[in-house]
Amino acid sequence: MVSPVVLIAASLGFAFLYPLVERLGERAATRIALLVLAAFAGTTAGWTVSLIGSGVALTADTAGFVAPLSIQLQVTAVDALAMTVVTLLALAALVQLTERATDRWHGKQVVLFFVLLLGSYGLIMTRDLFNVFVFMEISGISVFGLLSTSRDGRVFEAGFKYMVASGLASVFFLIGTAFVYRSVGSLSIADITAAAPVALASPVGVMGLLFLVTGILIELKPAPANGWAIDTYQAADPGIGALLSAVNATAMVFVLVRVMPILAGASPVFVPLVLIAGAGAFLIPQAQALLQESFKRMLGYSSVAQIGLVVLAIVIPAAGVPFAGVALAVPLVLLLNHAVAKATLFWIADATGDDASGFGGSLPASLRGRPALLVVAAIAVLALLGLPPFPGFWAKWSLVMGLAAGGHIGLLVVVLLGSLLEVVYLGRWLIMRMRHVDDDATVVSQRIPADFAESRADAVSGAASGASDASGAAAGAIPVGATVSLGLATLLMAGASVAALLGSGVGMPVLIVLIGVAAFAVLDVLRIPLRLQAIVAIAGLSWWGVSAVSGAALTLQSGFVLLFVGGAVVQLVALLARPGRRAGLVALIVGMVLSLAALTAATSPLEVFVAWELMTLTSFFLVVRGRFAAAASVRYLTFSLASALLMLAAFSLATAANPAFGTGGGVIGTLTTSVPWAAVLLALSVLIKLGAIGLHIWLPSSYAEAEDEVSSLASSVLSKAGILLLFLGAGSFAAPLFAGVALNQVLGWIGVITALAGGMMALFQEDIKYTLAYSSMSQLGYMVLAFALMSHLGWVTALYLAVNHLLFKGMLFLAVAGIVMRTGTRLMYQMGGLIKRMPFSFVSVLVGIIAVSGVPPLAGFGGKWLLYTALIEQGWYLQAALALFSSGIAFLYLFRLIHSMFLGQRKTHHDTVTEAPAAVLIPQFVFLVIIIAISMFPNLLIKPLQTIVEPAFASSVRWEGYTVISSLGYWNGNAVMYVVIGVFLAPLLWLLAVKGRTYRVEQFNIVFAAERPHTPQSTHYAYNFYGHYQKAFGRLLDPWVERFWSGVSATAGTVSQTLRAWNTGNPQTYALQILLYLFLTYLVARGGL
């Protein structure tokens, strides 16, 4: 095996030889440099392969002595792995830097690059404290050299700041080393570690270590003493940013890893000190980055934050026991995940030449129309956010579980809060880059155009300029170097993800999700048209769904699989109406459906969480496809991931209390926890996903601004995931909270108020999709209310409502999709009189709204009957009354919907509108037939639902033929149907008998007091249909919740601004901050501030 010394010597040697090599020509020299790097990568990879699993380390002593006299270099399997990744990233970085369009690296830049690499290798391999100092200096000087060669004044200034700061850090480290040497008499880290408990426990030793650790921490660029580093990231070439973040920072973390055992052995003050430093370094930059407008600076904040997280992970080993040595798996995975992802993002910034971040319509949608770059960027962002299936996810999971198990609740909050902030700014960046060029990213509610010609012209020209922006950006080709390096990084990430996934022990259902997405992504790459993909998806999902449930008894699990897969398969037919290609659509839909199915099959909290996150991700990418969905998807992503983080917190607390938590698998109550806080967090998480009042502001715009087929899927199928989670966590929600009030009672009230508020808001929407979205929110409220009853009838009701909602909301959204397709508008008042042009859509909407409103004889009434019976049975009288009231409100908006679109006067330009395409109508009529069937024979649905619920509760209703009898009342859907048919037919036949005298007249044949209106089509009464209702309620209808969240957002912005102001850009201030940091560490170590 190659000796570690060789690597050091080779780096240094090649750096010295490079000027000679360059005599062969600049291009040839850089190619040779790349070959040398490739050889280094081969060497380190060879070490990794031979060392992994062997438990031995590769050791080399220098100058013919043995340690402690010599400088010892050592490579363990972990070190070798890290060095391999570092070398590969360095290789990719060098390709990117030497093969780009402008400002290619050559000469001394390549020399300094190799010196930097040498420093990093040294930091990882050396086992000698003084030698660490040497390599720190080598790294610092090479970075300064790279920065100071720039002719750009700002870069030069940043280099100066970097030198001052790293100089201070080195000085601290050196002072510390001197103190340590004085106490121990050796510089070998192994010797010092062994001697630490005795020799370094004295005040002098502790003081020395304090200097030492502060020096290391400063090198890790911890907030709040890192303004100099942030300035460097912003000013420097993104290529240097990538090097700093991927190579240099990774190596420095290893120094902390070496020193941590010394610190922990010497004094108990150091573990909390490093914990606090790590927590601060993680949380503060995340907040600072929120309003960041320079993308490179934002990445800088993100880098220092990620290193903060790694520091936390080093101190808190995954095993969950308080510090007992350094367990490296979690921090190492986090570190490498970060290195690859962050380098990728820096390279993308370089390739697109686009440093703008933040928000606003003027920002270029620079990833639009560049699918490959978009996929790479998305992978990097998702990996940084710690989302599956990327390696960071598993590490974050272990870290959070460890934190909860160790009782570090404060740190848990820090990690989750920091992660959420990261979601906001990184997610926003991604969304802004991939949004549609017309989207000014402000759309979170319906848009009613002002009725002026000028403003319309403005809008059009604005869109046009946006388009030219983006097309300009898209026109710039990606340099070869960036393509190679991004490809290499993505391969690395993919390889690591696969390895992590296979090592994580998650079951087949989760793997199937990823396989499904990948398979359809391949079809996209092969440019298979959408229709063909849809057919393949329908066939595949049907086959998979049938094989998953066939032969299985009807349980919660198989029931929900039927619901998810069946509901989605029927709606996929609608895609056949769209010709051409729509990259990613089918892959994401399939991914969403399969992740929902995986959620039902999960047998551990980890699998539940993975499935939940995958569902969130696939649905997010579906939502963001909408033409004006940028702002809505920022909300969707933020709230969905907030929900996921709450769930993670709940799971970690529950698992800490009971290791067997959540291992039952897919049955009611699997996720039951007796920890009240875990139950509350779980409830909150689910309530966010269900759009409960107060947490709903993401829901309307996400459902409405998504593409039409996606809206229908999201509202009818996806929204049921929350209901499934409620059932899985059932036992948790009966926990008493305070003063005898149980969690489920609170849930019940939240449910009924959501039902009412959703209905109220639906009432005043002019945009049909917003009406339906608010309606979904309201319907989900009913389901929560019914579930919260915690009774047999309540649960049957919740499931009944879920099935019913899937059917009618699928119908309504698809009908609307057809209408929008034909009329080109979503505003109801711009429609009208479509009944004669689109009769089938009318029938579908009619049946849909009757089913929603609960008017007998259709199935909707079954839901109402069950709900009120269940509520009154449990003594929830006020809730019952409120629910009935909101069901009246539902009647209002549903009538408005059908009237405004289909009845009244038709616009003249809609005279030639044709019926929706058959592919859109077919799924509607499939649902229609099912609705009619379960209306005629309610037992077809209710009895199976009883079977699902009965493992948890004994039945509280009995059947006599078609009559279902509860303790309070009874209902015979079959008889109702016959009576209704009877009373309907009698007058109809009478009318038909006299129909001979009836004349059909034109639509416009109406009269106002004997005067025919001149332009009857302008008399369509539809705009502000319920103006009087708004008047009656007055300020009660103000958007309180929207205002609250705006306030939260503004406060976060203010905090971010305040924190950002700390980084003044002045080197003297930065030097002072570093000194204060040292002082602060001293105070913390002394046990008080």
Binding site: F891, H899, F902, V976, V979, V980, F1025
Partner: protein, 310 residues
């Protein structure tokens, strides 16, 4: 089986004939009473018959489309169904109608059936006044629905049942057993809601029949209008019978004729109350009636429910 169905059909016809004729006469009588209050002679009590016959005898009629055509059918079906789901006379086989199909909840939701169909039909007429009337009517309906629902929930809680027959059964044995006296708050909330349900003054802005032609029937004529006029009688009759059953002990006697007489007297008084209130108060605007119903009556309703909870 056939015989059973035929018997039931016969009973249904009898039951419907009784309620239709009685309600038509009642409407005519009340119109006359209102005229007297206003110092007019008024129409004969049989005027509703004349109206219906006249409408149906029109030689021409105009339809705006299928839904317009079906609107009145829905409306009448709604009226008929609502009546047929209520047991009109306690203990009578003939007048038990189809109450075995469902309980109070069914009835409360079936009320919407006719309204929805009619609103759709009126909508297809294309006349904006129809839509305006519907918008007002539906908005007002949700408002009075709240106190009504509260009173119904209070009754359901009091008697532990949602079956109308059982609620009536529980009120037998003298007028002190009537819900009106055992649960006065629920009765008050319910009876105020009933004012809105009847669409008489002060809640008549929905149809505003005299001043301007507004409201759902704006474009309706001939047989369509006749059907609506027929329904008005049946639907009103059904609602009065419902309220009689809920709060005023229902109509029960071993002699069917006496029982019918009891029903006549009770529903007459209920309608008289609506007429008296209507004659005494001016009309509310829609937003005023919404606020009214969501104010005092709702608070009374909540009080009735809370009393059942403690």
């Amino acid at each position: 089986m056939t015989q059973m169905i035929l018997t039931k059909a016969l009973y249904t016809v009898i039951s419907l004939a009784v309620i239709t004729n009685y309600a038509l006469i009642l409407i005519g009588t009340m119109a006359r009473i209102r005229a007297k209050v206003q110092g007019r002679v008024g129409q004969p009590f049989y005027q509703p018959y004349i109206d219906i016959v006249k409408s149906n005898a029109k030689r021409t009629s105009i339809s705006h489309g299928v839904m317009f055509f079906l609107g009145p059918v829905f409306r009448l079906a709604g009226g008929l169904g609502t009546y047929l789901f209520i047991p009109a006379i306690f203990g009578s086989v003939i007048f038990s109608n189809f109450s075995f199909s469902g309980d109070l909840l069914l009835m409360m939701y079936f009320i919407f059936f006719g309204q929805l169909g009619m609103a759709l039909g009126a909508g297809e007429s294309g006349h904006p006044h129809s839509a305006i009337g519907v918008a007002r009517g539906l908005a007002q309906m949700t408002a009075f629905e709240l106190p009504f629902v509260l009173s119904v929930v209070a009754l359901a809680a009091q008697y532990g049942t949602l079956s109308i027959t059982e609620i009536v059964a529980a009120q037998q044995g003298g007028f002190t057993h009537w819900a009106a006296f055992t649960n006065p708050l629920a009765m008050i909330a319910g009876m105020i809601a009933f004012l809105g349900m009847s669409g008489a003054n002060p809640f008549s802005v929905v149809v505003a029949p005299q001043e301007i032609p507004i409201g759902p029937p704006t474009e309706m004529q001939s047989s369509f209008l006749g059907m609506l006029q027929t329904n008005r009688a049946i639907f009103n009759g059904a609602k009065m019978v419902l309220f009689m059953n809920l709060f005023w002990g229902g109509a029960a006697h071993e002699n069917l004729l006496v029982a019918i007489l009891i029903m006549v007297v009770k529903t007459f008084l209920i309608y008289l109350y609506v007429t008296i209130v209507g004659a005494s108060f001016p009309r509310f605007k829609t937003e005023q009636s919404i606020r009214f119903f969501l104010g005092v009556p709702t608070v009374i309703g909540i009080a009735a429910v809370v009393l059942q909870m403690v």
